[in-house]
């Protein structure tokens, strides 16, 4: 699926913000990822063409950073911190609970309905609220199984919306 006309227009406007065009590559990949939920090979090639960069270069950048998803993720994707401060307060158990509730065996596996996935991430810098996660472009604090259940139930009802 090619990028939408709107995305192309946004990407074309990016280089003007920077002293050098290459700095636009990550903001451009953000726009591309927002369209499909993850970065397809096709989208990365398109970004490369729009920014007059080598496609291999763009893939090289995308593969370096964890916020770029090279494989599909669920429409509702939970990023749970399991670094030390959160692990000391039950983050691993929270991850196990989420996996059971959304019906996946492992991190980054997408539930059969395509709705959910969960990944463990490194410290998100909100250690005083541990355990915590990032979901739907915001932080969720003091996680308990009940809080997570409420989010999953609301997402099931909603059905979409990343």
């Amino acid at each position: 699926m090619p990028l939408s006309a709107h995305a192309v227009e946004e990407i074309r406007a990016l280089p003007a913000r920077f002293p050098e065009i290459r700095s636009a590559v990550m903001p451009a990949l953000d726009i591309a990822q927002e369209e499909a939920g993850h970065l397809t090979q096709e989208a990365m090639t398109e970004v490369a063409e729009l920014l007059k960069l080598d496609p291999g270069y763009v893939v090289g950048v995308a593969t370096f950073y964890t916020l770029f998803h090279l494989e599909p993720v669920g429409r509702h994707h939970f990023s749970v911190c399991t670094n030390l401060s959160c692990a000391l307060r039950g983050a691993v158990e929270i991850c196990d609970h989420i996996k059971r509730r959304i019906g996946v065996g492992d991190f980054k596996e997408v539930s059969t309905d395509g709705l959910f996935s969960v990944e463990e991430v490194e410290c998100l810098g909100a250690c005083e609220y541990a355990p915590m996660m990032r979901y739907a472009h915001r932080y969720h604090y003091d996680l308990t199984n009940e809080k997570v259940d409420a989010l999953i139930d609301a997402a099931r009802e909603d059905g979409h919306g990343r």
Binding site: R22, T82, N83, L84, S85, V92, L124, E128
Partner: protein, 440 residues
């Protein structure tokens, strides 16, 4: 953004340089910030001080960088060449990702304008008209705060061609990171800002001479810059009255892990970790003892309970074999296993290695596999020797940046203070800790 319960310092206290206004309703807006004297320091600097005078106040203050290295801020500013024509930049390191560290987030959420005022002051002092804030991509809340705050400043004219009537154009741009711990290292951050894989550069040239897009660049941490408005307002000498001889002022410590009141606490440098952990953060849960703590983020060599009286003074921490680092104080109680904790952290360092330097690229994963052998009961004496060999190979300048050293320090310091736990696991497949996490 939903208002979260503030966990940490806020309100007036004798030593609250940064957090005295935190908790004030709508402090994040320009209107409220200005009502409390905000941007008075920038106006004072722009209209009444020469850049050299601002620089002199910062030198007098004794302020040392709060990102991790603790380098003297005034000295760092002095490295920016005065005679190179063309653009120069101030780049803000807001890529806070050191495990156990949340103070820059706390600061940006509570008072984005305090940071922005500091950024403008730094720009004036080093002759930069453009600043870039490199903020970690996961920080949605602080990012929105900064977007709004910058828009307010543009509308008001503080960012623009003539801030406070002074012919000194100022602008601040935001750049979002994409999830890479290594970007906290300043040259990796610059690579990332330039749209590349974030691999540290070899130095020289230093960023002060050849930084962002090849131009002279000053890089400072969020907390460092946010301290500037206070210093300009009250003078460097007033700031230097706080703290100790070599560690002036106050700093934010993020206290997390097994404590009753985790939070971001502003302390006067020189107070003890006993005060920070047992009093401010309330100590461990009932019936538990502090077993070990990381005094400055996960990269800081651990200290056992017997060293709780260690001072927060930067040099004192170095003297006892650790570092003050990012001010992330991680506390672990006696219900947790040190070997499992070290394994978890090594997974982190292995994952975040950028792959440029061989000891770090190879050593991190090698250590993780060794820990896995030990923890699965298949270890032996040889594995302890391997860990010892790896930690040694990661240190002492064998890598371009500190990530390798940090990984080595986790192994070295946990083995130094908890050798018996390593031997239990490796030699006897036992764990004396009553309760351990299901898997670390």
């Amino acid at each position: 953004m939903a208002a979260e319960e503030l966990r940490g310092s806020h309100g007036e206290q004798r030593h609250h340089v940064l957090t005295s206004l935190f908790g004030t309703e709508d402090l994040h807006t320009l209107d409220v910030y200005r009502r409390h004297g905000g941007y008075g320091s920038l106006e004072k600097a722009l209209t009444g001080m020469a850049p050299e005078e601002v620089h002199a106040e910062v030198k007098t203050s004794g302020l040392r960088g709060r990102g991790g290295a603790g380098f003297a801020t005034g000295t760092k500013w002095g490295f920016i060449p005065k005679d190179i024509p063309g653009p120069r930049y101030v780049v803000v390191n807001a890529d806070e990702s050191e495990p156990g560290t949340s103070k820059d987030r706390y600061l940006m959420e509570n008072s984005p304008h305090m940071l922005l005022e500091g950024v403008c002051i730094a720009c004036y002092a080093v002759g930069a008209h453009q600043a870039w804030i490199y903020i970690r991509g996961e920080y949605d809340g602080p990012y929105r705060r900064l977007v709004d705050a910058i828009a307010e400043l543009r509308a008001d004219g503080i960012l623009g061609a003539r801030p406070f009537g002074k012919d000194f154009p100022l602008d601040i741009q935001l750049y979002r990171g994409h999830g890479a711990y290594i970007c906290g290292e300043e040259t990796a951050l610059l690579e990332s800002l330039e749209g590349k894989r974030a691999q540290p550069r070899s130095r020289p040239p230093f960023p002060a001479v050849k930084g962002a897009w090849g131009r002279p660049t000053l890089l400072n941490n969020v907390e460092t810059l946010a301290t500037l408005p206070w210093i300009v307002r009250h003078g460097g000498a007033e700031y230097a009255k706080f703290g100790t001889e070599r560690s002036r002022g106050t700093r934010l410590l993020s206290v997390s892990g097994n404590v009753r009141r985790p939070g971001v606490y502003e302390v006067e440098l020189g107070v003890s970790f006993r005060h920070v952990i047992m009093e401010l953060a309330g100590g461990p849960p009932d019936g538990r003892r502090v077993k070990v703590f990381w005094p400055g983020g996960s990269s800081a060599p651990v200290l056992p309970e017997s060293m709780l009286d260690t001072s927060t003074d930067l040099d004192e921490l170095a003297r006892v074999g650790s570092i003050a680092g990012s001010g992330g104080v991680i506390v672990m109680d006696d219900s947790h296993c040190v070997v499992r904790a070290a394994h978890r952290l090594l997974r982190f360092y292995a994952h975040e290695s950028c792959g440029k330097c061989t000891p770090c690229r190879v050593g991190g994963n090698w250590a993780v596999r060794t820990f896995e052998r030990i923890l699965s009961g298949e270890g032996g004496a040889i594995d302890l020797q391997i860990l010892d060999r790896i930690q040694e190979s990661l240190q002492f300048g064998r890598c371009l940046c500190g990530l390798g050293d940090a990984a080595g320090w986790v192994i070295m310091s946990t083995m130094r203070h908890f050798r018996d736990e390593y031997e239990e696991h490796a030699l006897r497949n036992e764990c004396s800790v009553a309760k351990v996490p299901a898997h670390a």
